[in-house]
């Protein structure tokens, strides 16, 4: 497979006929550190290698996310089964290694760490999550499944898609607007996922920058320690030379 050229934007969903990306399995496998599912757009960049250059408080904050997965204390086992699948679909986490999104959301809700506002037609964020679990099951049943967790992958995708478009109806959804529910829960999911250094590795983000700062601000420039994107190396040759595994397969 030829290396991908990211100067072109052909890989971006808006520019593709079905609005969906190609399989990320075409990317090299991450070689340094971890990315969710090991997709390696910046295969040799591990932001955690830079931790010596961060201030102590920030370092503690970030490492806590990697080193400890909070155990579930807010959600019941049944809720967690449903919502875990839901979070994985929203973030397209189809295999390990996974960022433990639901556990991170659970920890915030358990600690009552809310965002400072609530839509008038919505319950408290904590209650919204619980009702979401009930509502996902209800929507799956409308497709003939027993519940959301037991539904086929196709039905699960359709339910999440309908939620994102605000098109769920009946039971919970007649009382709790799906479009606002989507805003509330996606906000929590994205904050968890993109606060995790594994996600920073995947997107090539420079991460914490105090006290070092940034010096190379121009177009196409990066700091000496920032990761190079995959296309600058031929992933096939490169992995062969290193004796690493080839691109990850599901």
């Amino acid at each position: 497979m030829p290396p991908r050229d990211f100067r072109s934007a052909e890989h971006l969903p808006n520019l593709r006929p079905d609005q969906q990306p190609a399989s990320p399995d075409e990317l090299p496998r991450q070689r340094n550190g971890v990315t969710p599912q090991m997709h390696g757009r910046y295969p040799d960049y591990n932001v955690l290698d830079e931790a010596d250059h961060w201030d102590e408080v920030t370092r503690r904050t970030v490492f806590e996310r990697v080193e400890s997965t909070p155990s579930l204390r807010f959600f019941t086992r049944e809720e967690a089964a449903t919502l875990g699948i839901f979070c994985d679909l929203v973030m397209a986490q189809d295999r390990e290694p996974k960022i433990p999104v639901l556990n991170m959301v659970d920890a915030k809700l358990f600690a009552g760490q809310l965002d400072g506002f609530r839509y008038a037609e919505m319950p408290d964020d904590r209650e919204t999550w619980r009702r979401l679990a009930i509502g996902l099951d209800a929507a799956a049943r409308q497709h003939g499944a027993g519940d959301f967790a037991g539904a086929s992958g196709d039905v699960q995708m359709r339910v999440v898609d309908a939620l994102a478009k605000g098109e769920l109806h009946g039971e919970v959804w007649d009382e709790m607007p799906p479009s606002i529910t989507w805003k509330v829960v996606s906000r929590a999911i994205l904050s968890a996922f993109y606060s995790h250094p594994w996600a920073w590795n995947e997107i090539g983000f420079g991460g914490p920058a105090y006290p070092r700062g940034f010096a190379r601000l121009g177009v196409g420039q990066r700091e000496s320690w920032e990761g190079a994107p995959a296309f600058e190396r031929d992933p096939v040759k490169d992995t062969e030379q290193r004796g690493d595994e080839g691109p990850a397969r599901p």
Binding site: T58, T61, D115, S186, S195, I203, F214, A215, V219
Partner: protein
């Protein structure tokens, strides 16, 4: 250019602000504000002025009056931040900077609060503001007269101009020569800009849209004991460097030096009055779980456009059964936000938009009314530099989730983002009320904010968004992503010349309570398309000057609406015409 302007240009960066030593009072070796010498007042001592909230308005007012020898206490519900220990160079870890106590939002176009809204702790919302410090335009103060919309202010641009100039030295503000509104220079030279801003500026230029670097409240070069910006891009997470201006570093140190007490972790729950005289006697507040009462000769409320109306509405009495200073049902009305949609553009080269301060370049070319556009008033264009979580929300806002969202995020380094600030009009139905059935941890009813747009608002936002699309197309962007947002909440206790249509007079004094003042963004009758912090500070600075002239008290209080001297109207500048 006048001699004065030439001199200011020559002395750029070398001018020390008059009567404010804050930058020099900070410690070289740590970021926290030295508090060892801070005065402490007893609750039973009636201070000259009690200020609620140590933010943009409250912090500035405290410094000004402490300098004049007033005995000032500021009660701040949040902590006295230590940037070294309390702040992190991390997006999610900065959650504690925001006002996270519950609030309810409603209306047909509800405004999400939280991290995109008000702050908490000494320094207020400016701790996590981006750092743009533009002035308002002269037209902003008379939009009713000029454009037939909104409301005229009871003061003019020229009443604020000396305060703008003084504050620009104190923050200090850096930027290119500013051709819009009342043209002016900045005391600090413009910062270097990153690649993305360069590309956007080139695209704009092709369309005849002028973008300028700044104006930002970020030191360029060391300033007193505040070091140079290190271009790390975490301005919205609190500046651990002390390079970005907020009252915490620009006014609080000098206030403390001149005898003000900044009492943190004190949530004010009620402003008390004497039922017979109708005068304010002090405030009730909660510190460490205990309720206390601080006596004061006068009270200035500066708690932000949501908490200020909330505090007044919750301060009911026999004299004011519907809330303090709310005889005419004006408290909480005409609260405003700017329409702030963002458009991201994709480029072949890496832009890495997380570098450099998010506020880089700005255009006010569309600020004024242009009838050909089909709506009144206008908008500003600015860079925003979202970090990963913020950008992910942008991608999701465009409609992508799952695999598509991940693909867009893997492409993060190729994107650059511009934002709009659309002037939305003040509408009486847009208001802050209190939710009787929903209380906070202290048992105090929380604020509810309802917001709905009018036709002019929708047209403005749509036109502005299209302009950003055009800029990215001209800049050669390969793909764009659009998301809807709001920014900057002001109004809610507006100043005016008619007690039936406003809460305070031109001197920020409540129409019906002689020793109650409002000193934050709530007093704004309109919002322009400029970021509000500098104007909030300038208003507080002017208020201090007015108070210092008269001291407080019913005897000297003039209660009649006053006609204020208006300055000359400047000829529109050539760039404005576009």
């Amino acid at each position: 250019m006048s001699r004065r302007h030439e001199l200011r240009t020559l002395l750029r960066g070398a001018l020390r602000p008059p009567e404010n030593d804050s930058a020099f009072l900070l410690d070289v070796h740590r970021r926290a504000v030295p508090q060892e010498r801070m005065a402490r007042y007893d609750d039973s001592f009636s201070v000259d002025l009690l200020i609620v909230g140590a933010g943009a308005g409250g912090g500035t007012l405290a410094q000004r009056l402490a300098r004049r020898g007033w005995k000032v206490v500021v009660l701040e519900s949040g902590p006295f931040w230590d940037p070294d220990e309390d702040w992190v160079s991390d997006e999610a870890g900065s959650h504690r900077l925001y006002w996270t106590e519950p609030r309810v939002i409603g209306g047909t176009d509800p405004v999400e609060l939280g991290k995109n809204n008000s702050g908490h702790g000494v320094g207020g919302s400016m701790v996590h503001y981006a750092g743009y410090c533009p002035r308002f335009h002269p037209s902003d103060f008379e939009v009713r007269t000029r454009d037939g919309v909104g409301e005229d202010w009871p003061i003019s641009y020229y009443d604020l101009r000396p305060h703008y100039e003084r504050l620009e030295l104190e923050l200090p503000v850096s930027g290119e020569y500013w051709p819009w509104g009342d043209p002016h220079r900045y005391p600090h030279t413009p910062h270097p800009i990153a690649g993305g801003a360069d590309a956007a500026r080139a695209g704009a230029r092709q369309l005849g849209i002028e973008m300028r670097v700044g104006p930002v409240g970020i030191t360029n070069g060391a300033f007193g004991n505040r070091p140079h910006c290190i271009y790390r891009g975490y301005c919205l997470q609190g500046c651990k460097v002390n390079a970005k201006a907020s009252p915490l570093v620009t006014h609080i140190p000098d206030a403390i030096e001149h005898g003000a007490e900044i009492r943190a972790d004190c949530m004010v729950t009620r402003v008390e009055i004497d039922e017979s005289s109708g005068r304010v006697t002090g405030v009730r507040y909660i510190h460490d779980g205990t309720e206390r009462f601080q006596r004061a000769d006068a009270v200035a409320v500066a708690g932000y456009s949501i908490e200020t109306p909330r505090l007044l509405l919750n301060s009911t009495s026999r004299r004011f059964p519907h809330g303090l200073a709310n005889d005419n049902d004006q408290v909480g009305r005409c609260v405003m936000v700017q329409g702030a949609p963002q458009v991201s553009g994709r480029f072949p080269d890496e832009m890495r938009m997380y570098k450099a301060p998010p506020p880089e370049i700005c255009s006010e070319q569309f600020y004024e009314t242009d009838e050909r556009r089909g709506f009144a008033r206008g908008f500003a264009i600015q860079t925003v530099g979202p970090l990963p979580i913020e950008h992910a929300q942008h991608v999701l806002g465009h409609g992508h989730w799952g695999a598509a969202l991940r693909e867009y995020m893997r492409d993060y380094n190729h994107w650059y983002t511009l934002g709009i600030l659309s002037e939305l009009l003040p509408l009486p139905e847009n208001r802050v009320t209190v939710a009787a059935d929903f209380t906070d941890q202290n048992g105090v009813p929380v604020a509810r904010m309802d917001y709905s747009q009018c036709e002019n608002d929708r047209k403005n936002i749509a036109y502005a968004k299209q302009t950003l699309h055009n800029i990215f197309a001209a800049a050669g962007a390969q793909d764009v992503l659009v998301t809807e947002r709001y920014a900057h909440l002001v109004g809610g206790c507006r100043m005016g010349s008619d007690p039936e249509r406003s809460v305070v007079d031109a001197d920020h004094r409540a129409w019906s309570v002689p020793n109650l003042f409002i000193a934050d963004g709530s007093v704004m009758p309109t919002q322009g398309s400029a970021n509000p912090a500098l104007t909030i500070m300038a208003l507080a600075s002017r208020l201090a000057e007015r108070l210092a002239l008269k001291r407080t008290g019913g005897a000297s209080a003039t209660r009649r609406p006053r006609r204020l001297r208006r300055g000359p109207r400047p000829a529109p500048s050539p760039v404005d015409a576009g």
